[in-house]
């Protein structure tokens, strides 16, 4: 059979069309198509270097929040003292002058010129500090809020034991303040202020919601909850969730409040501000905010007086970059007013204490 098939003539076979040659025109067209395809491939931006290409309304701009009218800034930075610790956490002014800073494993003391005075080694990281003044039962004593309780130190740094009265496993001490025979601490975990005597005896718990006494309680959305005693014997508490500063008697009676939630410079911005505050010797308030970091001074009645430090000063990277992450925004971990009413700011990003003084003030020479 195969042998016979050789005789088959072409014309009588069913023959599908063959593959022809390439004409010049077609070759040219194909080459052109290939070039177009190649150009398209080369123009693919694989690395996202041309950006997302989203329109402007997709851009997040917080320019307005970050810029502060220079007219409003009444302070200038006059010094900066580095804290030789791997992390910083809390700041407290020493009534006679100077300050204390806590960080991982240590509490460091500095005098008013920024020279190191005392170094107390501790286990863990003290989350808040207070130093007793002359009016206190034990002048010069250092109180430190530790994860497990309140630890006392002699002015020289020797530990005098710890108390835990009124604390439970939810407790997170975020602030300490001292007045005459009292020691008070803000407990962010339980959202109350604890009031002890100087021996650690719990005297009262301030701020438990109680409609009959017109006490609404504190809203503490994050681990920032600050308290301060002023010489008038009135306790001031930052209610960060409500973005207010509230006043209480040591017995826990509500006296009044001020503060307004706002993105504008006059108000407290964000979910939970002011994160920290301190009281100047004349009763005015120094407030610090987190998120968009800024330090401002308010009058006793809560009127904005001046800006101490702008976001630009406190977190330059926040301004420089459009893309940022929240772990970089907690720039300020404490404010304090020292004996000379200079404003001390604990800068977490630079791990230093920054000193601000009024513009054109008398104490320019430091």
């Amino acid at each position: 059979m195969a042998g016979k098939a050789r005789k088959v003539q072409r014309g009588e076979l069913h023959r599908p069309p063959g593959v022809g040659g390439m004409s010049g025109v077609l070759a040219l067209l194909l080459a052109a198509t290939a070039v177009i395809g190649l150009v398209a491939v080369l123009r693919v931006d694989n690395w996202g270097e041309r950006g997302s290409g989203l329109s402007e309304r997709f851009e997040f701009s917080f320019e307005e929040l970050l810029t502060v009218d220079p007219e409003l800034v009444g302070y200038r930075e006059t010094g900066q003292v580095e804290v030789p610790l791997s992390s910083v956490r809390a700041l407290a002014a020493v009534p006679g002058g100077g300050w204390l800073v806590s960080g991982e494993g240590a509490i460091l003391g500095f005098d008013a010129q920024g020279a190191s005075t005392v170094r107390i080694t501790v286990t863990g990281e003290p989350t808040c500090l207070a130093v007793a003044g002359e009016d206190h039962t034990y002048p010069g004593r250092i109180y430190a809020g530790m994860p497990s309780g309140v630890e006392r130190f002699a002015p020289g740094g020797e530990s005098q034991g710890m108390w835990t009265a009124g604390l439970d496993e939810n407790s997170r001490l975020t602030s300490l303040t001292v007045f005459e025979g009292s020691v008070l601490a803000a407990d962010a975990g339980n959202r109350v202020v604890l009031h002890w005597d100087a021996e650690g005896q719990l005297l009262s718990v301030i701020g438990r919601p109680d409609p009959s006494r017109n006490i609404r309680g504190f809203t503490v959305p994050s681990g920032f909850f600050d308290v301060a005693m002023f010489a008038d014997g009135v306790l001031r508490v930052a209610n960060p969730g409500a973005r207010r500063i509230e006043a209480y008697t040591l017995e826990g009676d509500f006296l009044g409040e001020w503060g307004e939630a706002s993105a504008a410079i006059e108000g407290f911005f964000g979910c939970c501000n002011p994160s920290h505050f301190a009281i100047l010797s004349d009763g005015r308030f120094v407030t610090a905010e987190k998120g968009i970091p800024r330090v401002k001074i308010y009058s006793e009645q809560g009127q904005l007086e001046t800006v101490v430090a702008t976001p630009e000063q406190l977190s330059p990277r926040l301004l420089a970059s459009r893309a940022f992450r929240e772990d970089q925004t907690t720039a300020v971990l404490g404010v304090a007013a020292d004996a000379a009413d200079r404003i001390l700011v604990l800068d977490a990003l630079q791990r230093s204490v920054r000193i601000f003084e009024p513009r054109g003030g008398s104490s320019d020479a430091t």
């Binding site: 290409g53 609404r216 959305p221 939630a261 993105a263 964000g270 939970c272």
Partner: protein
């Protein structure tokens, strides 16, 4: 048919090639799969701790609407009244009018929850179909709690072998993860999930649903911890290996 001698020679050569090739392939394949144990399907996911919310997720995905979308981890959320992930920074008033909303597609939904000591709390949910993964709210939320973050949604992702967003990600935040891991949560969210899980278990008592939820939360957190630890270990090992070669 070619003559017998040629067939033999060629056939022998081809057989030899085939056999050795086959053995080599199967051996190498077995070694590769065996080296890291039997791993199942892998999928793409982004590490929200590395993410800079640059917006590339919205446009570089091969899908018309990106597979990357925003997630709100409610247990990290402050339920703020002034939500920086919801309101424009220059909002006129604190209501849901479109001009006040940060999200260009209106995908963040604000719902009043309750009022406590003068503070009003709101719940913010993401309307999945509207979200295009631009990350604008993520940037806004980062000013506060950072509970909003981007994730690849695997019911939409087509799981390209080479993810176009991963290549275009300026923060190199994309990883291949085991399919059953599904997500990469923020480091800070791991503890939050664990706490919620433990709380659910404590409160569960007779409620099987609460118990189940609590257990799945703890399991999720455990997977995340494991992944983070392994990642840290690899980074360390890889850098240790490469360093001598580099210098």
């Amino acid at each position: 048919m070619p003559e017998a001698g040629r067939t033999d020679r060629r056939g022998f050569l081809a057989d030899a090639l085939r056999t050795s090739g086959g053995f080599a392939l199967v051996g190498a394949g077995g070694f590769l799969v065996g080296r890291r144990g039997q791993e199942e399907l892998q999928v793409w996911q982004l590490d929200p701790d590395k993410c800079t919310a640059c917006g590339n997720c919205a446009t570089y995905c091969v899908l018309d609407v990106s597979a990357v979308k925003c997630v709100n981890c409610f247990d990290m959320c402050g339920f703020c009244d002034i939500c920086t992930g919801y309101f424009e920074t220059n909002y006129w008033s604190l209501d849901t009018a479109a001009e006040n909303q940060l999200c260009p597609t209106g995908a963040v939904i604000r719902r009043f929850v309750e009022e406590q000591s003068g503070q009003r709390f709101y719940e913010y949910t993401i309307d999945g179909p509207l979200c295009i993964g631009c990350g604008k709210c993520v940037k806004g939320c980062a000013l506060m709690n950072g509970s909003m973050y981007l994730q690849v949604e695997h019911d939409r992702c087509v799981n390209c072998n080479e993810c176009a967003i991963a290549t275009a990600c300026p923060a190199e935040a994309f990883y291949r993860i085991p399919a059953n891991q599904v997500e990469i949560v923020k480091q800070s969210a791991i503890g939050v999930l664990e706490r919620r899980g433990r709380q659910q278990l404590r409160e569960a008592d007779e409620d099987p649903q609460l118990r189940e939820e609590g257990e799945s939360l703890l399991a999720r957190a455990a997977v995340q911890r494991q992944w983070r630890a392994r990642q840290a270990g690899w980074d360390a090992r890889q850098q240790g290996e490469e360093a001598p070669r580099g210098s």
